[in-house]
């Protein structure tokens, strides 16, 4: 497993080609819908890591295996990175049913890198649930939402990050809201009502799902069980009417566009006839593997750029 991640992380061209081949096969052959892919986002210190630890302790006794990708968006590929803050407690870090990999965000623009995408794809083959922990700083919510089936926002009560979050217009993305540190008392309840009133104003793309707002305490474990129930409910919701195929399809297209945009800029996209035409092309393209699409379309752009030189 770790070996496969090392491969997909490798920037050397011959390894990249091998990785692409592997990912392509994996994406085609993987059982559908396979592992639950869950994003956990929120401000630093909200308790995401501690919550993940509590989740591990809830899920492992049921026999479920768990992989966690912890992304540190503050660090770039060449700047060096400190990835120590993986998980707070020791709930089974020597248990083969739990896998944790930390990654520097790598991309100069602060977006999640292809390596993260690859990591999730690989881990989803082996583990029952794959979590991505990332710090919410606007852009990254949108980024993670493309990699996951369920996006969870963790609010830190009384810190004002909920308001910021609402101002940034990000309220429509998460499928589940958690107000953590319930043990802190009334301040947590106040944050719940703030969120609820914020939510009642907004429109959501999936009208059939009302995102729940739950109180949790990663500290004493309260609400964690309900959180798992909410995760399962959202998964069932997605599986109804095959919403999950739609969601993954849309997410994969957004991923491809995002990756091409980051690499080649809007000038690059123009080589493919611009954004709108790329969108319709992707919608028709039957290739299920996002990795193959990125590679093929990338090659096309490079070719076009070479010709225009």
């Amino acid at each position: 497993m770790a070996e496969a991640l090392n491969l997909t992380d490798d920037q050397r061209p011959e390894r990249q080609a091998a990785a692409l081949k592997l990912l392509d096969i994996l994406e085609r052959e993987a059982p559908f819908p396979g592992a639950a892919r869950i994003g956990i986002t929120g401000a630093p210190g909200a308790g995401k890591s501690t919550l993940l630890d509590a989740l591990v302790r809830e899920l492992r006794p049921r026999g479920e295996t768990v992989a966690i990708v912890a992304v540190d968006p503050s660090s770039q590929r060449t700047g060096g990175a400190l990835l120590g803050d993986r998980i707070r407690l020791r709930s089974g870090s020597s248990d083969p049913g739990v896998f944790i990999r930390s990654m520097a965000a790598r991309d100069r623009l602060g977006g999640l890198s292809d390596a993260t995408h690859a990591g999730v794809t690989i881990l989803a083959l082996v583990f029952d649930r794959v979590f991505i922990e990332t710090v919410g700083v606007g852009q990254s919510e949108a980024d993670v939402s493309r990699l996951v089936d369920t996006l969870v926002f963790v609010a830190n009560p009384g810190t004002g990050d909920v308001l910021q979050f609402m101002k940034a217009g990000l309220l429509e993305l998460p499928d589940i809201f958690l107000v953590n540190k319930a043990d802190a008392g009334p301040i947590a309840e106040r944050t719940v009502s703030e969120l609820e009133s914020g939510l009642s104003l907004g429109e959501r793309s999936d009208a059939a799902w009302t995102p729940p707002v739950l109180l949790t305490s990663a500290r004493d474990g309260s609400g964690v069980h309900q959180f798992v129930e909410a995760l399962d409910a959202h998964r069932r919701h997605l599986q109804n009417d095959d919403r999950i195929s739609q969601r993954r399809g849309e997410a994969a297209r957004a991923l491809v566009i995002g990756a091409l945009q980051r690499r080649y800029g809007s000038f690059g996209l123009q080589q493919l006839g611009g954004l709108a035409s790329l969108r319709s092309r992707l919608a028709e393209d039957p290739t299920p593997s996002a990795f193959t699409r990125i590679a093929r379309l990338g090659a096309e752009i490079e070719e076009a750029l070479r010709k225009s030189d």
């Binding site: 992380d9 060449t78 060096g80 990835l83 993986r86 707070r88 990999r101």
Partner: protein, 662 residues
């Protein structure tokens, strides 16, 4: 010339030596010898399993039993530790924190068994959990329940063991973790206020008792080589404490507002190179806390000249005790009133420290106090920053350390040349302790044990005081691991923030930049950024070295995984594999590198990772370094390797060599 016999001298402070090892019986012998040599109080060092609440046969205790202190697993161990020492006449200081309530209970039970009433007991439990999260590392439970245990102990002892100092608020360990004098004062005082506020808020402690409670709070300080500043620091602390206790708790009696403190002088600055120089450092540091009568320490313990080499032998400790005796009995220090009253220079510096400390303390209080400032990592991050500044200053030569970065050319030291100059704890100690523990478990009454544990849990979950139920458990034969497990069940376990943050430090010198360039080039060859795991296996809590290595590795462009202290070899190997690192760096200062490194290497082999290079740093005697290299360790580092940039360059070499092998 006045007649010698007529001169009035102050009574000296209490002379102590921090000691204990192998077993209760061996430590008892040591204590009796020390008392016979003129030591006037006892200072008990417990081993790490006892300090972290696991029994001697627990997997995490492997290699640690009896190593850096005495193992105390139950009431009979405690009785053996003090055999022949009358507890009603002894002043005992116990360096115990997360399990302090338990060790005090064992002490009370042992006293009662020898016919001594708890009312008569005198001494101190260290019991400052905040600095455990910040520096010392033997915490177990989360901050809030831990603070509750402390407040229980304060509330209980104020009447039941009135001569006991239930807590010794520590700034000592903050300085050892790199703290500046201002940080030492601010964070220790904020801790003291958290304890007093908690006690004040209790229903079972009447308001009239608060001044007495304030009067029982004592401190444990450090004294570094900048002894003039240290003199000002202790004067500032005495003054600030007097102010705060009056303002905040309305203590009218000046005696109860007195700043009482014990000291261990600085060890962080004691060197491996030219170790004989350490004696001079220790003497100067001692002046910092004895010279000013107004703010003189109540008790003093000194490290030994061979501090950076390993554990001191009885002779080494005796030499340090002699320093105290010469200062107190031969010099005229104790014949004078305060030497600094009226000194403008001392007064100005004192004022400056006091003001700055008050500001920093108020910052922490505004954050919600020390518990909040532990959880949000504020204080720990400040300490790591200070330590980083210190490491840099030494590396580039801005801070001179004689024998280390200046005046390194020297005669070989006759104290260490070809000699075994440290204490070696017999490896049989662990096995024997486990045998005694098992024999004890078989002897006790299982029903009484079970009932006492159930009672303990009931009392704690209904908000009762931990002490009476623990004393009962001590008498019933509960073990240290059982008591702690009962509390773990209720409170959970905690991992504190590492304080190592992803903030980029600027202003790298040319040497650092050169290594950064090499890291970049090698990363390109490897296909992805050079990734390193810094691991701290075992119960060892010494984190300074690992933190500094982690920060430096990040600064030269590596991806660093550092998860903090107290991991098992299995956890470290699994992290190394899952994270896909190119090299593992282990940091071990507790002396148990033999067992722990062997375990890591064996597990790596089992995981099919025998090609993954491992480097090790810490307190590693030369012969052991040899053994480790033979076992496959690529490089071994010790305190004399202060040049972090060079270490990073060598790590790049190690990874380059190993990737060339594949």
């Amino acid at each position: 010339m006045s007649d010698r016999s007529e001169r009035k001298r102050d009574r000296p402070w209490v002379f102590r030596t921090y000691s204990g090892h192998s077993s209760a019986r061996a430590s008892n012998e040591l204590y009796r010898t020390n008392l016979a040599r003129g030591q006037t109080g006892l200072s008990v060092a417990f081993d790490l399993p006892t300090q972290t609440g696991v029994d001697s046969d627990h997997p995490l205790a492997r290699g640690e039993v009896g190593k850096v202190g005495v193992p105390i697993g139950h009431v009979e161990d405690m009785s053996a530790l003090f055999e022949g020492i009358p507890l009603d006449q002894m002043n005992t200081s116990m360096t115990i924190n997360s399990t302090a309530a338990w060790l005090l209970s064992l002490y009370v039970a042992a006293a009662e068994r020898s016919g001594v009433d708890a009312q008569k007991l005198q001494g101190t439990t260290q019991n400052d959990i905040i600095k455990e999260y910040l520096s010392r590392g033997t915490y177990v439970f989360p901050p809030e329940p831990s603070m509750r245990l402390i407040s229980d102990m304060v509330a209980y002892t104020v009447d039941a063991i009135p001569k006991w100092n239930p807590i010794n608020v520590c700034s000592y360990h903050l300085q050892e973790a790199g703290a500046t004098p201002v940080q030492e004062i601010a964070y220790s005082f904020a801790t003291a206020l958290a304890v007093l506020d908690a006690v004040k808020a209790r229903d079972d402690v009447p308001d009239e008792a608060i001044p007495r409670v304030v009067g029982r709070i004592s401190f444990f300080l450090n004294s570094g080589i900048r002894f003039v500043e240290e003199i000002c620091k202790v004067r500032a602390m005495a003054e600030l404490w007097d102010q705060i206790t009056k303002e905040r708790y309305g203590v009218e009696d000046p005696k109860l507002r007195r700043f009482r403190y014990g000291v261990q002088v600085n060890s962080l600055g004691l060197t491996e190179a030219q170790p004989e120089n350490n004696v001079i450092r220790i003497v100067l540091e001692t002046l910092g806390v004895t010279a000013s009568k107004k703010a003189r320490c109540r008790a003093l313990q000194l490290p030994a000249w061979n501090e950076a080499l390993g554990l001191p032998r009885p002779w080494d400790q005796q030499w340090s005790l002699r320093i105290q005796q010469i200062l107190a009995y031969e010099t005229d220090l104790l014949e004078y009133a305060d030497l600094f009253d009226g000194s403008f220079v001392v007064e100005a510096k004192t004022r400056e420290l006091l003001e700055e400390a008050r500001t920093e303390m108020e910052k922490v209080l505004a954050m919600g106090g020390v518990v909040a400032a532990v959880e949000n990592a504020y204080m720990k991050q400040r300490l790591v920053e200070s330590q980083t500044a210190r490491s840099r200053a030494i590396e580039v030569g801005d801070q001179i350390v004689v024998g280390v970065n200046r005046f390194t050319e020297a005669e070989p030291s006759p104290l260490v040349e070809g000699k075994q100059s440290i204490l070696k704890v017999d490896d049989a100690a662990e096995r024997e302790q486990i045998e005694r523990l098992n024999a004890f478990r078989n002897r006790r009454n299982p029903e009484e044990v079970a009932a006492a544990l159930t009672n303990l849990k009931d009392v704690l979950s209904s908000g009762g005081n931990v002490m009476p139920a623990s004393i009962r458990a001590a008498h019933a034969g509960v073990t240290t691991g059982e008591w702690s497990d009962a509390l773990r069940e209720l409170f959970g376990e905690y991992r504190a923030p590492t304080g190592v943050v992803a903030r980029q430090t600027n202003g790298a010198g040319p040497r650092t930049q050169a290594v950064r360039e090499r890291v970049r080039a090698l990363s390109e060859q490897l296909g992805r950024p050079l990734k390193v795991l810094i691991g701290k296996p075992g119960l060892d809590g010494h984190s300074n070295g690992a933190e500094q290595i982690a920060v430096k590795a990040r600064d030269v462009g590596m991806e660093v995984v550092y998860e903090g202290i107290r991991l098992t070899p299995a956890e470290i190997v699994q992290s190394a594999r899952d994270e896909g690192v190119h090299v593992i760096g282990l940091s071990i200062l507790s002396g148990s590198h033999g067992v722990l490194v062997t375990d890591v290497l064996a597990l790596l082999k089992d995981a099919g990772l025998s090609g993954l290079p491992v480097v090790v740093g810490g307190i590693i005697p030369d012969e052991d370094a040899e053994t480790l290299r033979d076992a496959g360790v690529s490089r071994v580092y010790t305190p004399k390797d202060f040049d972090l940039t060079r270490i990073m360059g060598e790590i790049v070499d190690v990874v380059a060599e190993s990737s060339a092998d594949h």
